[in-house]
């Protein structure tokens, strides 16, 4: 009898809850933007006026899927993204009634190729990285399975150590960005690759080697950091904030002669960097309490500015001029110009 009562009570509770309005902001999306959005969310919650927003790390694509599913308390209010929203996602949003979206560029993130401080710091070109990591590379005018075992096989100036790079799996936004900014750029300068037809070229450019030269180390960047610390010959691919936090153990390799430092990523001279975004569902502003205020906090000078707390977390701040524009657009919740409008 007691048990029946308990179940009945629980069921009532469940249905009562689902009807209830939500007073907490909900954010989904990229795991790369997650550390920054959570920091802003926490500061926002400390003010005590509104509950702390709940931030989920679902990945950029997964985030948009949830974000674009509709308008109403069952759907998230903001989405983190480590790339700009795709036209197909805008379409999906519009189909579900989410037609006014504000895009806020929060800053930049650098992707680094780093190794242990106890080994030498190396300078790579984008082409050399591609040759080291691609599954198939051109040798003497032919596309062949990657024959390089040591870095010095590619160029005698590189260290005579085995090619061993730990990197993120294909589900990761960092991997997408790495492929786009390094692999695709690196392969373009080879005429043998240029000569291929489009599909084949994409395959040659984007496919990572699977013979042990490139190791997928899972989504956990701390794991890569620990492995690099233990294995002096290995390199790792991860976001700048992890290099920043482990500066006593790791060093970033120079890419095209530029070292991955805060300044170099901020001024755009370090080639492997990407913008980070958050997207706001305008229809929820004013319905879910605190959205406007949260955006104000996120885009404030003390958060997004050069000396802000997000920079402390490893976010590369926007240049002054761009910041002003972004702030302006964000606080007024100016929706993106979409093709359908």
């Amino acid at each position: 009898m007691k048990q029946t009562l308990a179940i009945a009570a629980l069921a009532t509770l469940a249905f009562a809850a689902s009807a209830e309005a939500r007073d907490q902001i909900r954010v989904v999306g990229s795991s790369t933007v997650y550390p920054f959005t959570t920091a802003a969310a926490e500061r926002f919650g400390q003010s005590g006026e509104f509950p702390t927003p709940v931030v989920e790390s679902t990945g950029t694509g997964g985030g948009f899927k949830l974000f674009c599913a509709g308008v109403g308390v069952d759907h998230p209010d903001l989405s983190n993204a480590s790339r700009a929203i795709k036209p197909s996602e805008v379409e999906m949003c519009a189909k579900n009634g989410v037609d006014e979206i504000t895009e806020i560029k929060v800053g930049y993130d650098g992707i680094v190729l780093a190794n242990s401080k106890q080994a030498e710091q190396v300078e790579f070109t984008v082409e050399q990285i591609w040759q080291g990591l691609a599954k198939e590379v051109p040798v003497d005018g032919e596309i062949v399975p990657n024959p390089y075992r040591n870095w010095s096989d590619i160029d005698p100036s590189l260290p005579d150590t085995k090619i061993e790079v730990l990197g993120p799996p294909p589900t990761s936004g960092t991997r997408d960005a790495f492929v786009e900014l390094v692999m695709e750029v690196g392969c373009e300068s080879f005429p043998e690759v240029e000569a291929l037809d489009e599909d084949r070229m994409e395959q040659v450019c984007k496919t990572m080697r699977e013979d042990g030269g490139f190791v997928e180390a899972g989504e956990n960047d701390n794991l890569i950091v620990q492995k690099l610390d233990a294995n002096k010959a290995a390199y790792g691919i991860f976001g700048f904030s992890f290099l920043d936090q482990n500066a006593d153990k790791l060093q970033g390799s120079l890419v095209s002669g530029v070292e991955p430092t805060y300044e170099n990523i901020a001024d755009g001279s370090y080639p492997v960097s990407r913008p980070l975004f958050i997207y706001v569902k305008n229809a929820h502003a004013g319905v879910i309490p605190g959205i406007q205020e949260f955006i104000d906090e996120y885009t404030s000078e003390r958060a997004m500015g050069e000396d802000g707390y997000l920079a402390d977390k490893g976010l590369i701040a926007l240049p002054e001029e761009e910041y002003e524009q972004v702030r302006e657009k964000a606080t007024s919740l100016t929706p993106m110009a979409t093709a359908s409008n």
Binding site: T52, V55, E56, D74, D248
Partner: protein, 438 residues
Amino acid sequence: MTDIAREGHRGRPAAQHADLSQARLRRRYAAERRFKLYGVLAICLAIGVLGILLFSVVSKGYTAFVKTEIGLDVYFDPEEIDPEGTRDPAVLADANYDRVIRDAFERTFPEVSERRERRALSDLVSSGAWLVLRDRVLEDPSVIGTTERVWFRASDDVDMLMKGYIPRDVPETARRVSDAQIAWIDALDEAGQVGTRFNLDFFTAGDSREPELAGIWGAVVGTFLTMVVTLVLSFPLAVATAVYLEEFAPKNRWTDLIEVNINNLAAVPSIVFGLLGLAVFLGWFGLPRSAPLVGGMVLALMNLPIIIIAGRASLKAVPPSIREAALAVGASRLQVVTHHVLPLAMPGILTGTIIGMAHALGETAPLLMIGMVAFIVDIPSGFTDAATVLPVQIFLWADSPERAFVEKTSAAIIVLLGFLVIMNALAVILRRRFERRW
């Protein structure tokens, strides 16, 4: 022995046979000794691996239970906190306490004047340090205008430095604490203004992006709420199912089919239950995301087959003579079950339930799908509030870039292991005290 001897007498001459049997006997004893040795080796290996695991977790994690604090003589400047002198809580809550802390630092180190340096100086304390001052002022507004020694939590980098995780002997650019900051800290340390204290906040605070502020209480409460829902849903359903199948159900193809399915369900990967929860509980029922209610429902589904199987096994273990005796004195079938069989089987069922719950306590995969893997600061206060659970908290911390989260991760693992040990110990005690053997 006797068998061998008897066997020998049957055929061949005794002398020849005795030699052979001795050799065979030695071989058999040797095989037995080897087998025992393998067993001992296997156990040693298992204990060794467990020891390594526990050692690495505890050696990394124990430092998280203490925290570094910095004591500063804070002048509660009325100009800064309450210029109008209204003592209105809203004004007091909104004052710029960061400035008050910066002033306190400047009085301690008057020689630091450059803006960047001053920033580095106030970075010694946690970015949440102002909350301490705010709470102090709100609690007792009469401190305004006085000077008081206030202990602030050190920032995570300083904490790591004091605990020896950040080496001092590497070049300045290679560590997150500058030479100047180390000099300030050492000066404060000499003046007795740096101390270590038991980190009570680790047990009372919610999650935070600042490692020095982060605590597990939010996750512990979330775990508790989730487990309550799991227990309330899975236990009665599982016991009812087990009793029906074991005591009342006719043996036919349908009950066989149900039995096979229950056994199969126990082996289904937990993520599948998460997907089911997403589709059914969130999709159809429209229950809120990240809620312990949904998490508990999903884990209850996962738990059901485990408890059912354990329940049926312990019902089966009750000897038929008990049932027959009760029926013989005129008890109904229901009375036989509720008065005799179920009480006798209960210790076994409870053991199974606790082991199932301990299993559910360690799950993250099904919770991923229903949004419980999230950054949640506020402590949940009900079954429908957003919440997370201990293993998820460990997962989230392990994924954070800040070095100081390494010790937090290990400390949270210690707490989770503590819970598991308690639950398993409870299962053992229940079995020892109430189990009856026939």
